[in-house]
């Protein structure tokens, strides 16, 4: 019986994660936009300002999570859209590979930048 339940259908997981990340993003994206466009104005942004915000560990972690969820959500969304248009077989595997690598690169790059702000790199 056990293995019957353990095989969480991949379509289902992705679907669920897409919703969960969306719910998370609603909050964070709104916060992010508000903070950087209305509280602090975008044209006043300096390295120092950003670095100061990054000092706060809570903010830092939130931003990293923001990055990861947004990347997953966005890339998974794109991948899904392509599948819905009939992408299958080998091309599909290739697309999945490319998208995964691109996401990982994006996340890595983002984390690197964030660490720079924290003065850790």
């Amino acid at each position: 019986m056990a293995e019957r339940y353990s095989s969480f259908a991949p379509g289902g997981t992705a679907w669920l994660l897409q919703r969960v990340t969306a719910a998370f993003l609603v909050v964070v994206l709104a916060y992010h936009f508000f903070l950087l466009h209305f509280v602090n104005h975008a044209w006043e942004i300096t390295f120092g300002g950003t670095a100061a915000r990054m000092e706060n560990i809570g903010y830092f972690v939130t931003m990293i999570l923001f990055l990861i969820t947004a990347t997953f959500h966005g890339v998974n969304g794109v991948y899904n859209a392509l599948i819905n248009q009939g992408l299958s077989g080998t091309p599909r595997k290739i697309v999945l590979g490319v998208l995964t690598i691109a996401s990982l690169a994006l996340i890595a790059q983002g984390i690197w930048v964030a660490l720079v702000w924290r003065g850790m790199m």
């Binding site: 209305f38 975008a42 966005g74």
Partner: protein, 131 residues
């Protein structure tokens, strides 16, 4: 499904005039989603200038912000993001089975609110820019 011959525009988007609310919402959501992920990549690229040093970062950002186009694009981004958020919330509700009968109304509401927020934010975005 396959086709025995090409029916050209009859298929798919050739019939856009007949699309109902749900279809439009789907198309807009797709469109805005792709814009957002595109922006995310660009965004990180721009921010990466920080790696090259404090000054480079500040200059790049402020240089960009000084451009009118960038401001315009930012307003566009806001519109795109707001719509995606609002419609995303609508979709989450649909997933939970809430308010399915009103799905068209909530879509129109998303559009209107997006418009309102975008217009209201124009002054903020457009201050202190040249031209």
């Amino acid at each position: 499904m396959s086709q025995s011959y090409n029916r050209g525009l009859i298929e798919d988007f050739g019939r856009w005039k007949e699309f109902s609310a749900g279809m439009w919402a789907w198309i807009f959501h797709k469109f805005t989603g792709w814009m957002l992920i595109g922006y995310l990549f660009t965004h990180i690229a721009v921010l990466s200038t920080a790696i090259a040093g404090e000054q480079a970062y500040t200059n790049t950002l402020q240089g960009l912000e000084a451009l009118f186009v960038v401001r315009l694009l930012e307003v566009g981004l806001l519109a795109v993001a707001v719509f995606h958020i609002l419609n995303g919330i609508r979709l989450l509700m649909v997933d939970l089975g809430i308010g399915l009968e009103a799905q068209d109304k909530t879509f129109y509401a998303s559009l209107i609110i997006t418009g309102a927020i975008t217009v209201a934010s124009v002054p903020t975005f457009m201050t202190e820019v040249g031209f």
